[in-house]
Amino acid sequence: MQSKGEVWVWAEQRAGRLMPVSLELLGKAKELAGSLGTRLVGTLVGDQMDSLAQELIDYGMEKVYLIESQRLKLYQSEAYARLLAELVRQHQPEIFLLGATAIGMDLAPRVAAKLNTGLTAHCADLYLEEIAGKKKLIAAVPGWGGSILVKIVCPVANPQMATVRSGVFERPPKSSGNKGEIVKVSTQLRDEDFRAETVEIVETKPTGILLEEAEIVVGGGWGFQSVGGFKLAEELAEVLGGTTAGTRPAVDAGWVREDRMIGSSGKTVAPKLFVSAGASGAMHFTTGFLKSKVIVAIEQNAKAPIFDVADLGIVGDLGKILPLLIEELKKFGPGQSA
């Protein structure tokens, strides 16, 4: 018998606003629920969230569980995890998706461990496939050795859980005519839910060009080691009127700030122009910019997989090619004609 377990999404609210990734997930989850012939259900944890629940319904959620308390207004890791795990045990959804924000990535693994189920992080795609006669969630994650995705499945344990970063799926259309049910869950908090207690949230205004909104991004990798740092990447970004970002190794080398990391565990961007320089093209990096309009790759190793995902490839030494490119752009770059 085909199980009728629902498809669930944890919708994240922060300071009373829905995180964009929650709505993006909702669109994909709706598709999955449709193929499974089941309902799409949202869960919200926080305080006084009626309007947010309605917003989720406007975006296509059929039912929303509200876990509300004044003490849950800010993210409380243990309380959120326990209450969500209990709700899951009670209703046995088939699939449970969460946004891979810095908070979602804290919550999802703890919930999965409580439920002894599988969790796949930073998925690049989600779809259903028949496995042993049952439609199962395929969570595709970046692999190694070229542009390869690894299909991860959770064949036995339920729910099948996955996290997805912002920018991977598209936000569905909004409609004020949707009907949905809002259910308030009776919530009992315990002292041990607050062994680690969030006491304050500080939201800062980002400075400079927002990476997610930049039209031109120069993403640098480990290859900049050969030129002693990231100066040439910054110069190139400046002359292009864009901003810099980097791979995990570039962040670890201290050249780029952690919040400007591109890739499956960093940010996903889709600028007009993405220039990858000094990166071999591991999928963990490339998934972060595959939706860019034009991709340029500059890399020493002619066989590097980065060239498979680029429109324009330059094989060469960063120390030689970048100064020439910068000089050329100064003469014939943005605002100039070729």
């Binding site: 992080a121 991860i152 939201e203 480990w222 952690e258 919040d259 997989p305 014939f332």
Partner: protein, 266 residues
């Protein structure tokens, strides 16, 4: 009471060699034979933080890793940085573990090693990059966890305030020990061992435990204990032009700028 601090460390491929890593088409497991390894960079920050806390109060720092025999190298590196003990969990039964089975195994070993006050981990590894093991380990140990930590301020020996990053901002989290904390790079600048440190570390023994010594339910270990499975590989379809520019470096630079104009992106 001296603090018992555990740091989880992982051996990962050297980032310079990422392009040489491939996947076994049958199992989807990582093929990294012959590829140089390093200690996962964020784990070095975790070791550093543990050492600083030990220096401030007093206590013992144990570095623990699960991996193949050569993962002993990262524990030797941890010795060179200054940890008091290195433990390697090494058994073919552990192979194929996903994050849940990895966290379970680490939890078994830590509980068996005795009292624990603080568990420190890098927020995520450079290779798998899931960031899931820290929180899952905390769940198995029954202690709270805080991730994405960029600052730890102790108020006395058993109480602390963590600053944890969120997108465009941070949270302040108050907690008491025991707890698990996963750290980001900006929490500290880790020390680089001297030649003398490395030579002294070479003489120290890494405690190696197999699955019997580690303990736990066999069905919760390795591939068998992993709820997730690799269902295959799929090539990513991209519709890119894949033009490689040819010529002298000067010609390439000129042509590249010309193309960017043609594409209408500059």
């Amino acid at each position: 009471m001296p603090l018992e601090i555990f740091v989880c460390v992982k051996q990962t491929p050297h980032p310079e060699h990422f392009s040489k890593i491939s996947l076994d088409p049958a199992t989807g497991s990582i093929q990294r034979a012959g590829i140089p390894s390093v200690m996962n960079p964020l784990d070095k920050n975790a070791v550093e933080e543990a050492l600083r806390i030990r220096e401030k109060f007093s206590g013992k720092v144990t570095a623990i890793s699960m991996g193949p025999p050569q993962a002993k190298e990262v524990l030797e590196e941890a010795y060179a940085m200054g940890v008091d003990e290195g433990v390697l969990l090494c058994d073919s039964t552990f192979a194929g573990a996903d994050t849940l089975a990895t966290a379970y195994t680490l939890a078994q070993a830590i509980q068996k090693l005795g009292r624990f006050d603080l568990i420190l981990c890098g927020n995520e590894s450079i290779d798998g990059a899931t960031g899931q093991v820290g929180p899952q380990l905390a769940e198995f140990l029954g202690i709270p966890h805080i991730t994405y930590v960029t600052r730890l301020e102790f108020q006395g020996e058993r109480e602390a305030l963590a600053t944890r990053e969120i997108e465009y901002g941070y949270l302040k989290v108050k907690f008491r020990l025991p707890a698990a904390v996963t750290v980001l790079k900006s929490i500290n600048q880790y020390r680089l061992p001297t030649v003398m440190d490395i030579m002294q570390a070479a003489g120290k023994e890494v405690k190696t435990w197999n699955c019997e010594e580690t303990g736990g339910e066999k069905t919760c270990l390795g591939l068998e204990g992993s709820p997730t499975r690799v269902a295959g590989l799929v090539a990513l379809q991209t519709k890119r032009k894949r033009e490689i520019l040819k010529g002298s470096e000067e010609e390439i630079a000129r042509m590249a700028v010309k193309r960017l104009h043609e594409y209408g992106v500059i």
